[in-house]
Amino acid sequence: MELERIDTKRAYERIRERIITLELAPGAALNEQALAAELDMGLVPVREALKLLAHDSLVVITPRHGLYVADVNVPDLERLSEMRLALEGLSARLAAERATDDDLVVLKALRQEQAATPPDDSRRLFEVDHKFHQAVARAAHNKYLAEGLERLFGLSQRLWYLALPKLGFLPGAVEKHLDLVQAIESDDGDRAEAIMRQHVQEFYDQVREVLAEDK
């Protein structure tokens, strides 16, 4: 994003936020002019931002029917979970092997913040959880892995917001993170991977359950 114009960057962030939190519903048609007016910006940055979002698979551009927010469905969830299970597991394993002292300080600080967040503040807990996953990926010291995970996380976020009204935050996650930090700190790659896989698996299981009920 470093090369983007700042107005493009701002439009990208604002529109992305709306898509992820479902304020812009999956499948909804998008109108460039309306978005530009709402964001109080020119058409050019909005158009550029939508292209970037299409690249993120959050927006679909069709030659005939214009622009709309990418749909989200159960088969998507399955494919996403396959990918994330494998990559998050790898990320945790590499973090256990490569984390520096500074990486551990960051992971511990995030864990503490998570513990201090009120249990009913689901959004905040979810944000901290996101940061925690990002921090583990950074501690793995592989930028391609971190970039890939970030993209997958962006797609998963919408599933979580879909399930949010019935789900709340996963109560077990706080302890999971503590275990995970300990495993990374003691260079135990096997354990770190196992904990992370389980944590991600539980997330998708619960989301799947909630979405299945809706059907």
């Binding site: 114009r5 701002r10 940055p45 600080a109 995030l110 503490q112």
Partner: protein, 671 residues
């Protein structure tokens, strides 16, 4: 027509204290094709800029190759405390020392925190970095601040702790983080901290501004690179500016100086820019704006930002002329709308002034010459505090009112009781009164509005003092000349000179020699001693009132006044006439043995790492080529055309060297 000879059109915009000026220029020929003035909207600068872009005559917007703005936005935001809330993290600073020398007031934010860490004069770690404490503080501050600035002790020599702090903070927080070493390679730790804090507080302000300018450009179908003027008059791309807003401090006056040089083609001159609110003085030497090597000061804060060496005084064409104690006439510092303009807009004001001039002496006091009027309808977002604000707005909706009438309406005795400050600041209400612009109308030297209103008002003003209106006018002009000459003299000799009572001084009851010399050089009253001031360089006048206010000053200084064509919009010309410049500084300093007794070699320190060398010569050679390469790359990325690189080596003493590469080129006008 040969399409290689299509002229390059560029659009320059300057947001001054009173007016926002725009000028459309043919770049190669320096021909001004169109210009436009609109009032600066301090509550939101982008409104004034949009008005200029809307108002300027542009035949083919698609032909514009570059837009460049100079703005007092940063300076204003700092002065009015409109920046964002910033937490300043100080790593390795000594809290006792800061406390003892009361340096905390200079940090530009009340929220500053000390942490262990930092380096010494040789780039060696003084204490390990306390990262857990930093992250705990970030957590604690959540929701309280909008940006974080980090400055570590001796970070220009070794930025490791700043970089590590950044990496960690960015992973737990979404707030923007500014690092001291990225803004300055100077070693002064307080100025660096201040600069980082100011930069952090201005990030969002300048980003909003750039986005608004881009939006305005798009509405006029202008698709061109946007540049922003720095405080030393050079240009940077908007992306650069969005990251280093603190560098735009003083960009307005710097642009004026550049514009004056561009239009006059003189390489040595004194530039005097007379605006509506202020007069700014700068110097052109060797074709460049003279830059203060010490950092720029803004408000109470001393920064490490390079900026034009300039002096600004509160004297402009719209300075309010008022009567003070002992019949002393004050010029400024406040800027008001000229009565000529108010009466032109509201014919009723002209009638009222006529009636006032017919009143008896005791009934026609000068306070009746100050009017308040409604500038705009308050929006929902403007907090009208209380019933009185609403009533005042209601009252002024029927037209401007003289202040005594407003006081009478509210049954009050003094203006201060009304508490109109916020409405003035939000530009809901405006003030009008006598100004030098009115005097120009009376004399017919500048007559675009209602000169009769000015004449009547001035008559009341003079009669109240039992003075002849014409003589009093001469006296005011003289007073303004004195103010300008005084400013030029103190600016050039870099010494203060307090002005006293002129008559006492010339009669001899005031023993101060410097003052006598100053006054005698202006008024030549001494029977035997002739003294004179002579400015060696010509004076270039800029701004609409320059042609009227400056000839006497130039004469008093024994120099020529040059008023280039279009000098009224030279500031906006200056916004596009500057070069694109990028500086890259590297530090070279000794690597000491553990005990600090032996020099083992030399480090070359850049912001992202350091390289050890055994030999000083090799280290300096590496620093020269690396800095040149980086400056060149950054200048190309910032939109410089064929940038030329020069490298200079400065020493700070202590075996420490600063290698500075400067890449400079004209802005690239192709898209």
């Amino acid at each position: 027509m040969d399409e290689n000879f299509l002229p390059s059109l560029v659009l320059g915009i300057d947001t001054g204290g009173t007016y926002t000026d725009g000028v459309l220029l043919e770049y190669e020929t320096r021909r001004v094709l169109a210009s436009h003035k609109s009032l600066t909207t301090k509550r939101d600068f982008s409104i004034g800029i949009e008005n200029v872009i809307e108002g300027i005559h542009i035949e083919d917007p698609a032909a514009i190759r570059m837009v460049s703005v100079s703005t007092t936005l940063a300076t204003n935001a700092i002065a009015e405390g409109k920046g964002k809330r910033v937490a300043l993290f100080l790593i390795g600073y000594d809290p006792d020392l800061i406390d003892r020398f009361k340096m905390a007031a200079r940090f530009a934010t009340p929220s500053y925190f000390f942490f262990d860490g930092g380096h010494d004069l040789y780039g060696r770690e003084k204490k390990p970095l306390d990262l857990p404490a930093i992250l705990a503080k970030v957590n604690e501050l959540r929701g309280w601040v909008e940006a974080i600035a980090v400055s570590s002790y001796f970070s220009p020599l070794n930025p490791e702790h700043e970089n590590r702090a950044y990496q960690a903070i960015a992973r737990v927080s979404d707030l923007p983080v500014v690092l001291g070493h990225q803004l300055s390679t100077r070693l002064g730790s307080i100025e660096r901290a201040t600069t980082a804090a100011l930069n952090a507080s201005l990030l969002a302000v300048l980003q909003d501004f750039i986005i608004a300018v881009r939006r305005a450009m798009e509405r006029r179908h202008i698709d061109a690179p946007l540049m922003v003027v720095r405080g030393d008059g050079t240009l940077m791309s908007d992306e650069f500016a969005a990251r280093t807003p603190v560098e735009t401090i003083h960009s307005g006056p710097a642009a004026s100086a550049i514009g004056g040089r561009f239009l006059s083609r003189l390489d040595e001159a004194l530039i005097v820019d007379v605006g509506g609110t202020t007069t700014d003085i700068a110097l052109i030497q060797d074709g460049q704006v003279s830059v203060s090597e010490e950092g720029a000061t803004v408000g109470d804060y001393k920064t490490s930002v390079k900026a034009a060496n300039l002096l600004s005084i509160a004297l402009g064409g719209d300075s309010h002329l008022t009567l003070g104690h002992e019949s002393k006439i004050h010029v400024g510092p406040e800027r008001v709308t000229p009565l000529a303009y108010l009466a032109y807009q509201y014919p009723n004001v002209a009638k009222q002034l006529k009636a006032l001039s017919l009143r008896t002496w005791a009934q026609a006091t000068p306070d009746w010459l100050e009017y308040w009027f409604l500038l705009r309808e308050p929006a929902e977002s403007d907090p009208l505090r209380g019933q009185r604000d609403r009533e005042l707005v209601e009252l002024l909706r029927d037209g401007p009112r003289p202040v005594p009438a407003i006081l009478r309406h509210f049954g009050l005795l003094h203006v201060a009781q009304i508490g109109v400050g916020e409405l003035l600041r939000q530009e809901v209400i405006g003030k009008a009164g006598l100004t030098s612009t009115d005097l120009m109308h009376i004399e017919g030297r500048y007559e675009v509005w209602d000169a009769e209103a000015s004449r009547l008002a001035w008559k009341v003003f003079a009669q109240f003092q039992f003075k002849d209106p014409d003589e009093l006018r001469q006296q005011v002009w003289q007073q303004m000349t004195e103010m300008i000459v005084h400013a030029i003299v103190t600016f050039l000799c870099q010494r203060p000179l307090e002005l006293g009572d002129r008559d006492r001084c010339l009669e001899g009851t005031d023993p101060d020699m410097a003052r006598w010399f100053f006054y005698n050089s202006l008024y030549h009253t001494h029977p035997h001693l002739e003294t004179a001031l002579r400015l060696r360089q010509p004076m270039i006048g800029i701004g609409a009132p320059a042609g009227i206010l400056l000839p006497a000053a130039a004469e008093a200084l024994g120099t020529d006044l040059i008023l280039p064509e279009h000098h009224g919009v030279a500031n906006a010309v200056g916004a596009i006439a500057g070069s694109v410049m990028v500086e890259e500084e590297l530090l070279v300093y000794p690597q000491l043995s553990r005990e600090g007794l032996e020099v083992l070699g030399y480090f070359v320190q850049s912001h992202d790492g350091r390289t050890p060398f055994e030999d000083l010569g090799d280290a300096l050679a590496h620093a020269r080529s690396l800095s040149a390469e980086r400056a060149l790359g950054a200048a190309l990325r910032s939109g410089a055309d064929n940038p030329q690189v020069t490298v200079e080596e400065l020493t700070d003493g202590l075996d420490t060297y600063r290698v500075r590469a400067k890449a400079i080129g004209n802005p690239r006008l192709t898209r």
